[in-house]
Symmetry: C2
Subunit: 354 residues, 2 copies
DNA sequence: AAAATTTGAGAAAAGCTTTTCTCATCTTGA
DNA sequence: TCAAGATGAGAAAAGCTTTTCTCAAATTTT
């Protein structure tokens, strides 16, 4: 090997000790030897099981800490059939929805020593299968499926797997647990906020009607404001936000004094378009977004008041649920809807202290 | 257990067969039994090692496929000291940089059967240690450290770990391998593009001078256009883009005909601000961004021509390198700089075919 | 035809932990 | 003082796979 080159054998200690070659890793053998007890006693001491003198137990524990023993999760997993590992499968390439979910999962599971494999499978079923198989090979304790919309399945079959599967922000099977945000309640929150500020002509500019989220939010909107104004369906883009504003303002008639947007990108474009038409936000008109995508909502001028779907909490619940299933605890199947909350910034005016 | 409840024991087959309880997983024992050979023969057949008749080998392979045998990665790992697992550690919460890097890593490693643990550690050293320890417990074959800027370390000590560590888009140790984008070359690409379009008064609006990326890009800018115009340092926000444009246009004097921006957010704000001042982009002035953050660059009106750091390729390289190290192959330590490339959209005008 | 090779396949060990037995020693009660 | 029970600790097996030996049978060589 050339000088200055890196190689893995730099990591192996490689000297002899006690008739066996140290592999660089401290095993329970080392603990037992250092404490002068058998391996089984050492194991029992560390796991607070079995019978032995308190002094022995404490001494073993102390020595284990001193020499830096950490049990090999592979060996543990092989024996217990638990790997303390779960897989997170998603087709959300940008991580817009999956990253918050993932943060919640990790937060919930790190205390339990569970790590998360993240696999992004665009919309490729073959790739999906490869990743699922890899997870199963590694004996994951469970799988959480996530995505970018709640009414679409991942392009991979997760039924009849030998491990529990929980769905978060993607469509699941009827006999499993699925977590999603309460679009109806979130939309109601937004519209009620606008009404509470005295807005009476509230428009709704949103995404494609094919999304169940869109229909749910629209339903809440209709329930609260009636159908004096037509709901404007389009794409989830800024382009659509601009176009929708143009449609309204280029048509004669009374203008809205509040706009509830289907997501933050549309809301941002709406705010921009209104500024270009010298409509003042929030003085003349209030805008509410949906998603609380910081990177958009906080950069808009003025920053957006918007609905947060609490994806992190959703991830936390999904994590705890898959853990429960992995441990054999009973969990009621079905769809769990988690409430949204309103994040108040400056695009509506009113009192942020409200 | 109540009816309709889910529980993990639903997954265990749990019937007797051949004197041992089937755990639901097909093991090499099952293959051997079904093929009428010993376990060792089965293993050798499947791994194309050892000596045996071609007919035996083929028969074992066929039966293994038929009954759906997949070797238990835990057992394999315990024996080989390879878990076919790596850890990706990052403090990039939004995933702006880490997700592309991750995609590249996964792409490079999935063929080798390697899965990736993703751990996001905000800036919490304690949390970082917890995650690193969890990875080591699980015998990861290596760790890739990533972040959101190349001149900052992760808040956790990764030296003297028993596994190889590779750095990607974050500062590493001098004796390790670090991958980063070539800021100088990328900036040169942008400025040369502007000059190629005939722009002669090119301004540079960028982020905080404390970033080494900013200084590198500025150096390239200076090398190409001299220092007739002062570089404008600020924050990475849209607010700064607006402010910078205001500064230039509210000051008497000749205006630039090209602006090279330090990132896409600034560039987007610059484009917006220019539109508000009725400066036409790209007719009157060309704008180039940096990062190729689709979500910003593609939504800007007009869409941004911008520099792409090829983070996915960077991730791919990092993945292959950590794999090489894990397999004991020699790798030259040091900083590897990967070239950027220009993504041409419409904010510069000119011929996209160029 | 006998000896030397080659060939095919199985036994056993290793990798690390946990758990279940088993056994020897110590204590307690009669 | 002897039997019964409690206590402390070790031996061994299990979990699954790969690898190294070993051994018997078949083939080739002399």
């Amino acid at each position: 090997m050339r000088k200055g080159f890196l190689s893995a054998n730099k990591f192996g200690r490689g000297h002899l000790e006690n008739q066996r070659i140290r592999t660089g890793r401290v095993t329970i053998h080392d603990v037992a030897a250092a404490a002068g007890v058998s391996i089984s006693t050492a194991s029992k001491a560390l796991n607070n099981t079995g019978r032995m003198g308190d002094d022995t137990r404490e001494r073993v524990k102390r020595i284990a800490t001193e020499i830096g023993f950490r049990p090999n999760a592979l060996a543990k997993g092989l024996l217990s059939n638990r790997s303390f590992t779960i897989g997170l499968l998603t087709n959300d390439t940008y991580g817009r929805f999956t990253l918050p979910v993932m943060a919640g999962i990790t937060e919930a599971l790190v205390d339990h020593g569970v790590s998360v494999f993240l696999c992004t499978i665009e919309d490729d079923p073959a790739l999906g299968k490869v990743h699922v198989d890899a997870m199963l090979d590694k004996s994951v304790d469970g799988i959480i499926a996530s995505g970018k919309r709640i009414d679409r399945r991942l392009p991979v079959d997760l039924s009849n797997l030998p491990v529990p599967v929980v769905y978060a922000f993607t469509e699941g099977t009827s006999d499993s647990v699925t977590f999603c945000a309460d679009d109806f309640q979130g939309a109601a929150l937004a519209v009620e906020w606008l009404m509470g500020l005295g807005r009476r002509r509230i428009a709704h500019i949103t995404g494609p009607e094919s999304f169940v989220s869109v229909r749910e939010r629209t339903r809440a909107y209709h329930d609260l404001v009636g159908d004096a104004l037509p709901v404007m369906y389009g794409t989830w883009s800024e382009a659509w936000g601009h176009e929708a504003v143009a449609k309204i303002w280029d048509t004669p008639g009374r203008k809205p004094d509040g706009i509830f947007c289907g997501n933050d990108q549309i809301a941002r474009a709406v705010v921009d378009a209104l500024r270009e038409r010298d409509v003042r936000v929030p003085e003349d008109l209030s805008v509410v977004g949906f998603d609380n995508w910081e990177i958009v909502a906080a950069q808009t001028r003025p920053p957006l008041t918007t609905v947060d779907m609490n994806l992190k909490a959703l991830g936390r619940e999904a994590g705890l649920t898959v853990l429960a299933l992995a441990e054999g605890r009973a969990v009621e199947p079905g769809i769990r809807t988690l409430p949204c909350e309103l994040v108040v910034r400056q695009s509506c005016g009113g009192n942020p202290e409200h």
